[in-house]
């Protein structure tokens, strides 16, 4: 049980300096997944790790005010919804399920449209993994929320 924040100014300063960089790197990993190692799963895990580090050094009470577990559940659901919509919208515009070539982005080339579809799906996966991991951590810690 994590009742209070960690009583050391060194740990608090280092963690509060580190967290924005972890989140920036997570966004880089998600959006650079087309051209190098990375993607939605890895970036989502990094985002979740930044929130879990905040939970560890700030304590449950303050960090629940900063990022609520209900918000994490909403993020997980929104990620899954983005993925589902990326599957269903091409069906409306005359393709098959998850056929990103039929997304309604008429100003770009067909293959480029597929790349944008992959990017949308990766963002959905990232949000879903992020929300789910924070949710699992919050429930395993066992505080009431």
């Amino acid at each position: 049980m994590i009742k209070q924040h960690y009583q050391s100014i060194i740990v608090q300063t280092i963690c509060s300096l580190l967290i924005p960089f972890i989140q920036l790197f997570a966004l880089y990993v998600i959006f650079h997944g087309h051209y190098g190692p990375g993607g939605g799963f890895q970036g989502g895990v990094l985002l979740a790790v930044s929130i879990i580090l905040q939970r560890l050094y700030l304590g449950i009470k303050i960090s629940h005010q900063k990022f609520s577990p209900r918000l994490a559940m909403a993020f997980a659901a929104v990620g899954l919804l983005i993925y589902g919509l990326a599957g269903i919208i091409p069906m409306i515009f005359g393709g098959s399920f998850l056929d990103y070539g039929n997304l309604p982005l008429f100003w770009v080339h067909d293959a480029e449209r597929r790349a944008l579809g992959i990017l949308i799906v990766e963002i959905g996966i990232g949000l879903g993994v992020f929300g789910t991991l924070v949710l699992i951590f919050d429930n395993l810690v066992g505080e009431r929320w």
Partner: protein, 105 residues
Amino acid sequence: MRWLNLFIMLLFAVLMLYATTGLPGHADPQAPANTHVSPTYIEDTIKDTHTPNVVTSVLADYRGYDTLGETVVIFTAGLACVLILMKRKGNDKTTLSKHHRSDHM
């Protein structure tokens, strides 16, 4: 019991070691797994999706249905964690130990 476990483990290991003699060798370019569908993925990924990373294009485009099911699996796992461990209001007697059980009966 301990010796039975050890015997089962050794039997399993010997069986697996025997099975490895039929597998293709280390880093064999002509292995069946390397010649079936993966050349198509590597050669068509730029033409089809403009995505140089083949892992990303296979994950989200060629096999997107697979990844959709997998995202549903992890979301369901998160929901299962919430439902198993959620503390309901006004009902703290969630333990199943003996005296609690006898109180309720």
